[in-house]
Symmetry: C2
Subunit: 245 residues, 2 copies
């Protein structure tokens, strides 16, 4: 029986989604928990790999189990054995051909930053500090964000190591919000390249500071070339909000 499992985690202490020899991954932690409750060695497929330090409110995984646990009971059963850093939000029966990665249609991420000239302990676990010199003009960020919405070749917004066949992606929505010193980007698209959201956030902050212009952003989309001084912001500000199928 195929199960669709929705997970939330604090990525701080994980080496990322994917099982690795060094460090504890989310995948390994959930697979270990599944073994504890079913006695089966179950391999799970995530909607995508989140990097070390990246958080999730609604990561989705799929797996097959022959166990006698009713589909909707997996979440509760898993939560009795999962550590506090990762928990199951929901479990449900899925079509037999459901694959959390290949079936994913739309993903939404949030990138959170805060403007400060010193680290703020109560913000710093889930957001990245950005300084306000040069001063950030938020209206410039809002304008530049609009340029990225739509279907584009995002090659310039992709870290080396990307393994996708094509670098063309569609962004359905990119909302920039500022509340006091907090800046949040919420971006929805049909898929994201390696480090794409973290690079977009870095570019938009740079635009706000006047270090890049709107024309520079247009040029990145047109030429596929990433300027040397574009920053990939820290993983801790990134959170996978939801995956739609």
């Amino acid at each position: 029986m195929k199960i669709k499992l929705t997970l939330t985690y604090d990525g701080t202490d994980f080496c990322g989604w994917q099982r690795q020899k060094k460090g504890v991954s989310v995948q390994e932690t959930v697979e270990d928990a599944l073994f504890k409750i079913t006695g089966e060695k179950i391999k799970i497929v995530g909607s995508g790999r989140t990097d070390a330090g990246v958080h999730a409110l609604g990561q989705v995984a799929s797996f097959s189990s022959s166990g006698g646990i009713p589909p909707e009971k997996y979440a509760k059963a898993l939560n009795t054995v999962l550590p506090a850093g990762v928990k199951a939000v929901k479990s449900e029966r899925a079509e037999d051909n459901f694959d959390a990665c290949r079936s994913a249609k739309i993903k939404t991420y949030r990138y959170s930053a805060y403007i400060s000239d010193t680290v703020l302990p109560l913000k710093d676990r889930y957001a990245t500090m950005v300084t306000d010199y040069p001063e950030i003009d938020f209206s410039k960020i809002e304008s530049a964000a609009k340029l990225l919405v739509g279907t584009h070749d995002f090659k310039a917004f992709c870290a080396s190591g990307n393994s996708s066949k094509t670098t063309v992606r569609t962004i359905y929505d990119l909302k920039a919000e500022k509340k006091g010193a907090d800046i949040d980007f919420t971006v929805t698209g049909n898929g994201f390249l390696y480090n794409m959201v973290r690079i977009i956030a870095g570019v938009l902050i740079a635009v706000g500071r006047g270090e890049f212009s709107e024309d520079d952003v247009k040029k990145m989309l047109e030429t596929g070339v990433r300027p040397m001084n574009v920053k990939t912001l820290s993983p801790k500000g990134l959170c996978l909000l939801k995956v739609e199928y």
Copy 2:
């Protein structure tokens, strides 16, 4: 020269404000940092002791220094040597008789809870999980919160171990807010007894669930007797927002 220092910290990994033999305290951490930047063994006085696990956005400390650092520069200098869990927000010169504890006039705390039947990793560091069975009626919480505003004997809202001469305190404001699954209490008063805010939060949640009535709350204020089943909620939901002088 007397200095007023405003601090913010994530209390999770501290044994509380006060220097102790077991564990690392905020006080010790800041005093060590002061030693590093001034070469002086300086003792600091906090506006009050926060317990292990309690956070602060605006804790205030005072100290005397003969050093040559201009008052407003201490914050920046300290931040170069303080660990990421505690940072200085501001430093300024104070009157010679200023004492962060004795001079404090008004304090504001926030207590944060979230309604869920499983721990949510991205909320759980700074808020306490409360289950929704019995179901929480927020309007009951709002009504009961009003009963606590004013000058009362809060003996029934005080953990044993309180060392204050009197248990009479004035609460100027107690705001209960609900946003989705999040419940926040923001309480301003002229001073708080040991565990008082955490007990108030526990009582109000219990009122919301129907486990206590408004009359029970009135009785606690009148008799000074705390019912056995009142919970002192976890320190991790508590944050000292500001201290006024």
